[in-house]
């Protein structure tokens, strides 16, 4: 008989082993998304935009929240995906929706791999600057290659053939777009969820927490980061492709600093490194901006700035982090009789 408790019996070990299990509330976002489809048929355009933003924020969460790579240039991959779909369809080369998305993912992954090979050699300000530089480079290139990308005006009215040859993409009644985006988001989310709880995802968290120690235990740190960056780029590319298909146009805004900063704000607002932060942040941000930004653009920017300062100084976990702290606080108070 052993004096020590077996490893699987230990509370910490049990918590670790059960971490990846499906929680009771986890189907909730998806049920809400379906309920939205039934309840707000006039807001499906907004809903599609929201789903695409969530997907984009999830891709950023993988590099920022899990691997700890601080980037301001993630829109580079969103734009790469959007332009891939847009250019293939506009020039009549290939327009079938699902295979186009795969092409978008491949192109964005290639951009991610090539830029990752260069910029993941650096850290800190230099890394940040290089992510910005890569995005600006692509934006300039898209602006210059006028014959292919439409330059400053972008590519208007891309014709997307029906999904599975059955469901039309109608810009006025975006039912198909909404369900299609929801399906793509679900598949990508399941993939990311499996990935972050896998040993690979664990090693990413390790690199974020202590790079030196991960080197010391023999993890191939740079390789892991490059793979993670490439996967994240591919998912961002899918989000971009989806955006192009849903809106039926592409323009330079898909590649700009605005989009990159917005997705960063959304992720941080919801809480990074938490999988569901992207959902909470995107809903909070998009609803608020839908209601406020058009009426009071300056007040919106001021409020957003103050919010960022407050999050950075006092509430690092975002909405989910604050919620968790409150829950723990109440949980501690209630049982004490």
């Amino acid at each position: 008989m052993s004096v020590f408790p077996t490893a699987t019996d230990h509370p910490a070990a049990r918590a670790l082993a059960g971490r990846h299990r499906l929680r009771l509330w986890e189907p909730l976002p998806w049920l809400l998304a379906l309920a939205f489809y039934v309840a707000f048929p006039t807001y499906l355009g907004f809903g599609t935009d929201l789903l695409v933003t969530i997907l984009f924020a999830i891709s950023l969460d993988l590099v920022l929240g899990y691997a700890g790579i601080v980037t301001l240039g993630h829109a580079a991959f969103f734009g790469a995906g959007a332009y891939t779909v847009g250019m293939l369809a506009f020039h009549g080369i290939w327009a079938e929706p699902i295979t186009s998305l795969i092409a978008a993912a491949a192109v964005a992954a290639l951009v991610g791999l090539l830029s990752g090979l260069v910029l993941l050699r650096t850290t800190g300000l230099t890394l940040l600057m290089l992510t910005l530089c890569t995005m600006a480079l692509l934006e300039e290139a898209a602006n210059l290659a006028h014959d292919w990308t439409g330059g400053f005006d972008g590519l208007p009215s891309i014709a997307i053939p029906p999904l599975f040859g059955l469901f039309e993409f109608n810009p006025l009644y975006p039912n198909t777009q909404y369900l299609y985006a929801l399906g793509v988001l679900f598949i990508c989310f399941v993939f990311v969820r499996v990935l972050v709880y896998s040993p690979f995802g664990q090693s990413l968290t390790g690199i974020r927490e202590n790079t030196l120690r991960m080197h010391a235990v023999g993890a191939p740190v740079r390789m892991r980061l490059i793979v993670c960056y490439t996967i994240s780029a591919a998912i961002a590319g899918i989000a971009g492709g989806l955006w192009a298909q849903a809106n039926a146009y592409v323009n330079l805004s898909t590649l700009g600093l605005d989009r990159a900063a917005t997705v960063l704000i959304i992720l941080v607002l919801g809480g990074y490194g938490r999988l569901y932060g992207a959902f909470v942040g995107a809903v909070a941000y998009m609803v608020l901006s839908h209601l406020l930004a058009k009426i009071y653009p300056t007040a919106w920017q001021l409020g957003l700035g103050l919010l960022l300062v407050i999050i950075a100084l006092f509430a690092r976990g975002g909405i989910l982090g604050v919620g968790e702290t409150l829950l723990r606080w109440f949980g501690r108070r209630r049982p004490s009789p």
Partner: protein, 290 residues
């Protein structure tokens, strides 16, 4: 002969732009090297200073030189308050928090300026002495550009002397090279940082005012030129004054020449060059090797 004059005028224009870029970025370079703080709001201080200078001249009829001095002092004081109250809390925070905080600060400043002063561009009224052309013997060139080059050279020599010959400068160099060692030798890093931060923001204010003539001055300024300021710091090597100077001049001249010969795609080339250069030397041209 015509070609030679063309080259000379391009180099002079590029030098003037490079000087402004240097004056704005040098503070960011030193604070970055000293504390490793990712301050994306540096351009916002340049903009604030520019506004103080331009508005002081227009509304109060202050002369150009006194307006520059007012801009320097006001911005340095404001930034010192920000540094003590807010920045200081985040020195040991993860990089992401510093990025978020400074982006938030940029948004707040942009929105405030838009509300208080308005979204339009504020033109800089040059004094008569600095307008027109100046005959340099071999070429006639814009007086203001020559003035900028002279001011830039005076400032870089002044900063270099301050950095290399004073006690304060020696402390900063020591802290950039090895902060822990400098701290153990009894150098008060916090105080050193407040002073350099305020001084750097004051320099940025000068740059914002001096450069308002061709960079413009509107609320979007801090985001529009952010990449350029960061490129100067990264290429020169964080914490290296001379490095920042060469990087700024290089970028200024390149930008000017490329805009003339390849009006489309000049910026593309600068971005690509920066990426290649940092691939070759990740620590910058003059940075210490990791």
């Amino acid at each position: 002969m015509i070609f030679g004059i063309d080259i000379a005028s391009m180099v002079l224009g590029g030098l003037a732009a490079g000087m402004v870029l240097f004056i704005v970025s040098v503070g960011l370079s030193v604070t970055m090297g000293l504390m490793g703080f990712v301050n994306l709001a540096h351009g916002a201080f340049a903009m604030l200073g520019g506004y103080v200078i331009v508005l002081a001249m227009r509304n109060w009829g202050v002369g150009f030189a006194p307006a520059l001095a007012i801009g320097f002092v006001v911005t340095a004081a404001v930034s010192a308050v920000f540094e003590r109250l807010l920045y200081a809390r985040l020195y040991r925070a993860p990089e992401l928090d510093q990025v978020l905080f400074t982006i938030g600060l940029v948004f707040v400043i942009i929105a405030s300026v838009t509300v208080l002063i308005g979204p339009e561009n504020q033109p800089l009224m040059l004094p008569d002495a600095l307008r027109g052309q100046l005959n340099l013997g071999f070429i006639e060139y814009r007086t203001y550009s020559i003035f900028l080059i002279v001011v830039g050279i005076v400032i870089v020599i002044g900063l270099w002397l301050g950095f290399e010959r004073t006690r304060m400068g020696a402390q900063i160099r020591a802290a950039v090279d090895n902060r822990q060692m400098a701290e153990s030798l009894g150098i008060n890093i916090d105080r050193l940082f407040t002073i350099t931060f305020a001084f750097g923001s004051g320099m940025a204010a000068l740059g914002g005012g001096l450069g308002a003539e061709f960079l413009g001055l509107d609320p979007q300024y801090p985001l529009k030129y952010l990449v350029y300021f960061l490129i100067v710091v990264a290429v020169g090597g964080p914490g290296r004054i001379i490095g920042a100077f060469y990087a700024a001049v290089l970028i200024g001249v390149l930008d000017f020449v490329l805009k003339k010969y390849v009006p489309q795609g000049g910026t593309l080339f600068i971005y690509a060059l920066t990426i290649l250069l940092l691939l070759w030397r990740p620590q910058g041209l003059f940075g210490k090797s990791a």
